[in-house]
């Protein structure tokens, strides 16, 4: 059965029978629609009549209510001239007669699975990670993120046998679309596609549960941009050390079906899977199940904490990281990066040990530490500055013209750290004391500033010039 469109401005095209006789391809059961471009009301074109063709190629006029229509451009120009006939394809037919394509809507509703069975490698674990949840906190340029990069955690030949996801945590206060939200990590509702969306973080966790031999690493970089407790609040009840379990190997692959009829169906299947498969772990212990609330469509999502899931985080000290660890101190292994110690352990230091500028920076950090200790401040990792600032991407020490700028930058960092930790009143004192102590370093003395090492009177002008000054009113 074919559909045809015939343009005729005469009422119901009285010449239709002649047309059928000349146009050989019109056959039994075909339908011919007649349209007119002589529509006095305007608004597009007018579909006026409908003929059905019966055996013997006889046209029968069918009952039809005239319909204002729109035409695809191909049809429009192919029927510009007098009495033109054109065969409609399926799409054009539906477009012209305004028939909604139901099959397409069904397709939209189906849910495409994001879980895949991954290749495994025996005993593969990320290198240098002591705990499933590990956070590195420290000043900028202390190499916090370095050990959490993909290339540092896994060997090149293991590619495809692990999963790694780096999420840069952005702030974006004042714009709900900018910053990372806790819902981005869990379940949200997409108002445009009108469907549930599984956050990347959640997808990784679910993938880890169904691929228990494959390490899954999520790295939250710069998470000081947001309050980690709030960001991961939905997962706080799940990620308790004592809830971590080794999941058994899967016995059937139903959860890897490519498509589910709907998101709800997928969630139901997932919950059935957790119930049947994750009741006991490899050592026959019970596995605690925590449900992730799904406000959108009803069924909550059951989750467990698999031993092959790793959550890594790197953050600077700021108001978000000062006291985050009421709940996460318990869940995560938190490492504070001591700028000098971690730097001295590096290969780079060993190779460049004799460099005067490098020694000057280390001297400065060490002196700062001594000054802080003399004032009763022992958490100096919050005040000392990161040493990697002086190293270029080619693993060399920065160029000479940048060195003075960098020293000024370090003074600025110290000032900021003092401010952040409510030591505003100490900025000038510590700054001056450091300036005097630095006279013990030859590079500093000849390149930066020579002050009289003994004077007790603070020269505020010098402090201001070096970016470690706070007015004392």
């Amino acid at each position: 059965m074919k559909n045809w469109l015939y343009k005729s401005n005469e009422e119901c095209a009285e010449d239709i029978q002649t047309l059928i006789e000349t146009e050989g391809t019109i056959g039994n059961k075909d339908i011919i629609y007649i349209y007119s471009d002589d529509n006095p009301e305007g608004e597009g074109f007018l579909l006026t009549c409908k003929y059905s063709i019966s055996i013997g190629r006889q046209a029968t006029l069918e009952e039809f209510t005239p319909l204002e229509i729109d035409l695809p451009y191909r049809i429009l120009y192919k029927t510009q001239t007098h009495n033109s006939l054109i065969e409609l394809n399926d799409f054009e037919y539906k477009f012209i007669l305004k028939i909604n394509d139901d099959t397409q809507n069904e397709n939209l509703e189906s849910f495409e699975n994001f879980l895949f069975k991954l290749e495994t490698e025996n005993d593969l674990i990320p290198t240098g990670i002591a705990n499933s949840i590990t956070f590195n906190i420290g000043q900028p340029n202390t190499g916090k993120s370095y050990n959490f990069e993909e290339s540092k955690l896994f060997k090149l030949e293991s590619v495809n046998k692990y999963k790694y996801l780096k999420i840069p945590v952005s702030g974006g206060i004042g714009n709900e679309y900018k910053g990372l939200q806790n819902t981005d990590l869990a379940i949200t509702y997409d108002p445009i596609k009108e469907e549930l969306r599984f956050g990347e973080f959640l997808q990784m966790l679910m993938s880890a549960i169904v691929n228990p031999k494959v390490p899954h690493v999520v790295f939250l970089d710069d998470f000081h941009n947001q309050d980690i407790s709030s960001l991961l609040s939905e997962y706080t009840p799940l990620f308790k050390g004592q809830q971590k379990r080794k999941i058994k190997e899967l016995t059937n692959n139903d959860i890897f079906n490519e498509e589910f009829s709907s998101t709800d169906e997928f969630i139901k299947q997932w919950n059935r899977f957790i119930k049947s498969h994750c009741d006991k772990d490899e050592d026959n212990n019970d596995i605690p199940v925590v449900r992730l609330t799904n406000r959108v469509s009803g069924d909550s999502l059951s989750l467990v904490f698999p031993s092959n899931f790793y959550l890594l985080g790197a953050a600077n000290f700021n108001e978000n990281t000062l006291n985050i660890f009421a709940d996460w101190e318990d869940r995560a292994e938190v490492t504070y990066k001591y700028p000098v110690e971690t730097f001295i352990e590096s290969d780079f230091y060993r190779a460049n040990e004799t460099d005067e500028f490098l020694q000057c920076c280390i001297f400065m950090n060490k002196k700062l530490k001594e000054i802080l200790e003399s004032k009763g401040i022992f958490d100096y990792e919050r005040y000392c500055f990161g040493m990697w600032k002086i190293v270029t991407s080619n693993e060399a020490i920065i160029a000479d013209d940048n060195k003075k700028k960098t020293i000024k930058f370090f003074f600025g960092m110290i000032k900021n750290a003092l401010k952040l930790n409510n030591k505003n009143s100490e900025i000038n004192n510590i700054g001056w004391e450091l300036m005097q102590q630095m006279q013990g370093n030859e590079w500093f003395k000849s390149n930066i500033k020579e002050v009289v090492a003994t004077t007790e009177v603070i020269d505020y002008k010098i402090l201001h010039k070096h970016n470690i000054y706070e007015d004392e009113i």
Binding site: D37, D38, N39, G42, G44, Y77, T81, H82
Partner: protein
């Protein structure tokens, strides 16, 4: 790349004799094409060689919409006082069922000695009125006297929605032109007036050069 936009007329669309062509007067790059072919600056058009035949230079023109090629040629008619060039597009015109009052876009680009020429026709407007020279705001519809275009019984009713009324007189467009029903379009001064498909949209008054 150069691009020319023109409004199709009777001559291009099989309403006035079998020779369907675009007059190239004023379309400078296309006017020069003949000489560029004869001096060997252009050897190929749309990657195919040009065949030379007395009064025409034959090549294939590309339909930019359907990506099909059609036979076309450049014709020449020189007298002591005038030099005329035209682009014959018969095959293309038949294929897209070109009618008057459409917008034709010609593209041309010369790369090395290969010249790319393509054409497309658009139906932006339901009708395009053409102004009668030497009248202030009298316009006619060229398609109304083309035998390949359906006669529109309800045309005047439709045009009234845009405040366009029949003048009651007929006019011609130059020598050998059929006579057309004249319409008054208040406030229109430019060469063409485009009438949209829906009365909810506004009419557009434009000159040929405004289209480019």
């Amino acid at each position: 790349m150069t691009q020319y936009t023109i409004v199709s007329d009777r001559k291009m669309s099989n309403c006035a004799g079998a020779d369907r062509y675009i007059e190239l007067a004023g379309i400078s790059d296309f006017e020069d094409l003949w000489d560029l072919i004869d001096t060997g600056v252009i050897i190929k058009i749309n990657d195919s060689p040009i065949t030379i035949n007395g009064k025409s230079r034959n090549f294939k023109i590309l339909d930019a919409f359907n990506n099909q090629k059609f036979d076309a040629n450049i014709g020449k008619y020189d007298t002591a006082t005038t030099q005329k060039r035209w682009l014959r597009i018969g095959k293309y015109s038949d294929s897209v069922r070109l009618t008057p009052e459409q917008i034709i876009i010609l593209f041309m680009e010369i790369r090395n000695s290969n010249c790319f020429i393509s054409i497309k026709s658009l139906t932006y407007y339901k009708h395009i009125f053409k102004r009668i020279p030497r009248e202030t705001n009298v316009y006619v519809l060229e398609a109304s006297s083309c035998e390949h275009v359906d006669e529109l019984v309800h045309l005047d009713t439709f045009l009234r929605k845009f405040n366009i009324f029949s003048r009651g007189n007929t006019y011609t467009l130059g020598k050998n032109s059929p006579s057309y029903q004249g319409y008054i379009i208040e406030g229109a001064t430019k060469e063409f007036v485009g009438i949209p498909f829906s009365p909810n949209l506004e009419i557009v008054n434009f000159n040929a050069e405004d289209l480019e």
